[in-house]
Amino acid sequence: MYYREAGRLVKSFASDRRMLPLMEDRWIVIAFLAFMYIVVTATASDYLFSAILIPMMVLGVATLGLNIATGYTGQLSLGTAGFMCFGAFAAFNLVLRLEMYLPFAFFFAGVIAGLVGIVFGLPALRIKGFYLIVSTLAAQFFAEWVFNAYPWFLDNNSSGVVALPPHHYKVFLGQESTPFNAVFWHSYQGRYLITLTITLLLVLACKNMVRSATGRNWMAVRDMDIAANVIGISVAKTKLMAFFISTFYCGVAGAMYAYCYIGNLDFMIFNLRRSFLIMFMVIVGGLGSILGSFLGAIFVYGWPILITRMGDWIFGGGTLDTAFVENNSKIVVGTIIIVLLIREPGGFAALWLTTKKKLRSWPFAN
């Protein structure tokens, strides 16, 4: 096949530093983005936007966040949903109290979640390995507790759930309540486009971080922190940096989860089970892989939907009850995790790499 690096000589530093050195890869990415931006936006149904595409991208960003901490830096974290919760509430309060424009609120919600992440990451400087999960679990339970105990964060709403009011959405790029704003934010296309763009920016940032000194430091600390220290990497700085970036991603994901996906604010949905679900996405997708984060999110989120749909299709509508689907998808996801760990510890991302390797030498055997 032509799809390989051999014989492609770089002639300038700029081309040597390219993110995607292969022309085919660049074309694939451009074609994929064009498809997502043009074809999907123009043709997809509201159901597809609201129940499939937006949540998958949002969860993919959260998975990417966890992957930065666990996959790239080797710090086990079970508090992902808690950090998402901090992000969602931060965005809500920024919009409510400072009347911030929503995209900026997303950014600063990420920053606030990141600062919280640094606080809960501090014990990582002294505690290692499994003992560290105590800190991130503390973050998870603290988040669930603090937003329950202090209704101030919810604008003193006693019910515990706030439907996000339309005027939160109306500000966009400095314009107050133009028809464009209203149409843009309240159509699924608009929310989809904003989610897609934020996701794209975050992925680009992450890709550039992991292929630069920042990412190499993370991986050095992951592989052996003492050795990393010996070659002059500041382990403390690297770990805290990883926690900050990781929780920044989780915070932005949480804010998008509330504003772009479900449209209300509820601390109950950011529970420990969601943390675990996101960890499954990381395992299934592949530790330390950006593509894997999204593949994992797509699979773990999409599987129960697929089962329900197939059940409806085979047995007629509404025959499979939710408990059956839930138990079934638990069994299947659990089995897949174990089988993947045994057969392919790198997850779906590694499967993709193997395919690519095979494609390179096709039609010859390896």
Binding site: R126, I127, V134, S135, A138, W145, A323, N328, V333, L341
Partner: protein, 302 residues
């Protein structure tokens, strides 16, 4: 003072319930380095199986024996299908595998039985004891739950038994050797797979006992899996490799939880702080001793 003592004793006794869960954790971690997250679900599976059988008019003893056999078989199957193929993998993948196992068993337990809430009555009296009436000599005017004492006695017996088993039997010696160094243990001819199968089977039995006691206390339902979250800070305080640590950690967490609830909750707006308070306590202990009170200190070399 009497009130403080009552809270303290109540906390210590409820801490023993946490220790019950923690022992299973420690046993597996000590002998194979696996952090078994499926502990809570194994607890649920055992209790749910037992309850479902007694509800179908199966005799108490027969149901107990059937569940016991099932848990032992389950332990052996888990060793065969999950742990053996993953031998010598990184500790993180082993942990992830048990998380997968957790999901699998969760779906299975609720798929085979149901997800309703079952009551479980073991026949242990739940009446409180007034210590001043029973033992006037102590001069303590406090109330203690009889059930808590029974649970404490069972946990104490189990720990004593396990400690003796580890110290004085040949299998216990092999277990200690394996926990020290897999490779070296295999080199001197200890059958690693058989040892692991034994450990998982014993853990299954511990899960059954803990599951029944917890089930009697809080009823058998999905929330039982949360027991694992109660056990986590306990073993982290005690040290992942120490069985006595599980007891000491349980007592510390139990006492700190109850005392925190009574004396600290006011500071935080009177809302239940016990969920994160246990973890904060654990965090404070870990900041002082990063591998727990009795945990082995890890020496790392480049």
């Amino acid at each position: 003072m009497a009130f403080f003592l009552e809270v303290l004793v109540g906390g210590l006794l409820s801490g023993v319930m946490y220790s019950l869960v923690a022992i299973g954790f420690v046993l597996i971690y000590k002998s194979s380095g696996v952090f078994n997250f499926a502990q809570g679900t194994m607890l649920l599976l055992a209790a749910l199986t037992f309850v479902s059988m007694t509800e179908r008019q199966v005799d108490f003893k027969i149901a107990f024996i059937i569940t016991l056999v099932m848990m032992v078989v389950l332990g052996i199957i888990v060793e065969r299908t999950v742990m053996r193929p993953l031998a010598n993998q990184s500790l993180l993948s082993l942990f992830m595998a048990t998380v997968g196992l957790n999901y699998f068993l969760e779906g299975l337990a609720q798929g085979v039985w149901d997800s309703a809430v079952h009551g479980l009555e073991l026949g242990i009296s739940n009446d409180p004891i007034f210590l001043i009436d029973e033992f006037p000599a102590l001069g303590l005017d406090i109330i203690i739950s009889q059930f808590d004492i029974a649970a404490a006695v069972i946990a104490g017996t189990m720990i004593l038994g396990l400690t003796l088993f580890f110290q004085y039997t040949r299998t216990g010696l092999s277990l200690r050797a394996v926990s020290d160094d897999h490779m070296a243990a295999m080199a001197v001819g200890i059958p690693l797979n058989r040892i692991w199968a034994i450990v998982w089977a014993v853990t299954g039995v511990i899960c059954l006992i803990a599951g029944l006691l917890w089930g009697d206390r809080v009823s058998v339902s999905f929330t039982l899996t949360a027991a694992v979250l109660k056990g986590l800070p306990v073993i982290l305080i005690g040290g992942l490799t120490s069985i006595p640590g599980a007891i000491v950690g349980g007592l510390i967490i139990g006492a700190s939880e109850k005392l925190g609830e009574i004396y600290l909750a006011e500071l935080f707006g009177g809302q239940g702080i016990e969920h994160w308070w246990a973890y904060t306590t654990a965090l404070i202990f870990l900041m002082i001793r990063p591998t727990g009170i009795f945990g082995e200190k890890q020496i790392e070399r480049v």
